[in-house]
Subunit: 131 residues, 6 copies
């Protein structure tokens, strides 16, 4: 069980419902997931986190699908079980195919490998990469 419990829409304060409504409208869904329901136990945290996510994940120079795949790449690197599950779903909803998933994971794996080779071999940054 979540440390602070989960706040269902029916039990939420007006302040929390305002955020829930915005999440559902922005994501075109009628579902509030456990992450938001858990943060709702501290309304400032819920509001601030949603506002940041809303801004950051909006379409921009990068497509939402690419943004979700980056989110999944980071979550896999950190081994966050909740986030891997929720962002795999979000990435699929945004257009990630199974082929894209496999390629994404291959890059994630390789990057985690070469990051440690670079560290262990104590490799100095090339001059041309310093800008």
């Amino acid at each position: 069980m979540a440390t602070r419990g989960l706040i269902e829409y029916a039990d939420a304060s007006a302040e929390v419902r305002t955020v829930y409504d915005d999440i559902m409208a922005t994501r075109q869904t009628d579902y509030i997931n456990n992450f938001w329901k858990a943060l709702a136990s501290d309304p400032p945290t819920l509001r601030r986190t949603w506002e940041s996510v809303k801004q950051i994940m909006a379409p921009g120079a990068l497509d939402p699908a690419v943004k979700e795949m980056i989110y999944l790449a980071v979550s896999s690197t950190n081994g966050c079980e909740y986030c891997i599950a929720s962002h795999t779903a979000a990435a699929r909803k945004a257009g990630m195919t199974e082929a894209m998933f496999s390629e994404l994971m291959a890059v994630v794996g390789m990057a985690n490998e070469t990051n440690r080779l670079a560290a262990g071999y104590r490799i100095e940054v090339d001059e041309r990469f310093k800008t």
Copy 2:
């Protein structure tokens, strides 16, 4: 200085030069960076790592630019100084604009934040995300 030293093309064995040549041909460059020069101290490591990177970073369901940005996202998450520098260069060469860079970093930052919120609040994975 790299733990095993850096092997310059001029001093490389035929086996190592074969890999260097393939890197330069594949990446359309005449430059071998310090990462490859360091791994060259163990030719099996150089060969195996290059073969994997070559396969994984080739165009596919994901564009090379997206793959490089994922690589940069993971490297930033892990704080690998060498890889952040080299993959920022590679991503720019592949088409990452400054606007894309900022959006990428915003997602990386946010994902690292929410990964820990999900862990600290001990949030259970929603049933619908388990597939």
Copy 3:
């Protein structure tokens, strides 16, 4: 199941019971948690780990409550499910309120975010921070 099993008080050697007794006396509890029961499969590990924890978590320039919250901050950063659970309990026992918990998690999330922004943007340490 724990890799080496859990050693219950009733089945413990005199050496292990000595440590268990000290844990219970120091923490004013009659409960030995699974972490200690698992380490007890290797008595030197149990003894050394408890002695260090006992010293480090004792009241000092920092209150026990602050120390437990730091422990929870690190455990959340590392995503250690066991430690997040046990140290949330310990922090609450030491005086952490729900308001403190939310603020603590907000700092943990933000720090994990800005750590990666600092890395990805390759920001140099200001001269004045080098001392």
Copy 4:
């Protein structure tokens, strides 16, 4: 050099200066550090990050000194050189003594150790810690 360069106050747009002014007023300083100068290359990132930090680090159920120490604990866990340097300075400014620093680091070290023991020994969460 920072990936996107550092924006000095004198060269900053009105939008960026507004944030710089708020940082200086809130922190009662005339100094803008490299972290903010680097993020300023993307004004939305600067604004959003500062707004979150401002909210999160304000006095609340936890003192600013405790919040800065938590920030330092996380930054040390992640090995973020920039953040360790800047938050050591910030924590000292907020009241962290050298004795507090040593105790803080001892807890950080111990937590990172026991997090891995809990993982490696595959210890199950005690029933009583699941709430």
Copy 5:
């Protein structure tokens, strides 16, 4: 459930069966574990990962038992539940005794601790260690 499902031998393509056969022959077992069955959903990933693991884990200057223990050390550091479980089994099969396990975990714990002390205390690398 694994994101892409698990491919059983009976349902596998010829390409996948070739890899499964090589795994079983190399490891002298009739069992294909879930890791390989999951990667099999993307045959290039399965093939490339197995080829690398096969090369890297073969006896060499380091014994297979030492290699498996290093694998377990890394997996414990990263908190990868799957890998800790599978590599504990593999290390035991390769000759890791319970005494070796406890000593291994003690080193893992201590290294994770001193890594953070070195970072938090901002310790400079000694000249003599730079080669």
Copy 6:
């Protein structure tokens, strides 16, 4: 510069010198490295850390060379620059050849890769690995 400065033998208290002497005797060296000199600013930390390292790194079921290589594997995984440098030196002193180093790093890289594949593909632990 180290956060709390470095305490040279000549300037050390009797308590600190006792630890320094034990380090030199145990490691058969006349050199105290920066890690110990930095921790010496807090004598309890120095003493406790040395006592633990001394116990943990002593010959046992695992050779000192294997223990140093595990230490290097963890330090490379965590990207700790200081520790990678000092433990590469220590491992070499204990008998690690360049061939062993390359094999060690190959395992470290591969483990960091497969740890994330296991996480990203959300692979369930096989029944037979749960003991």
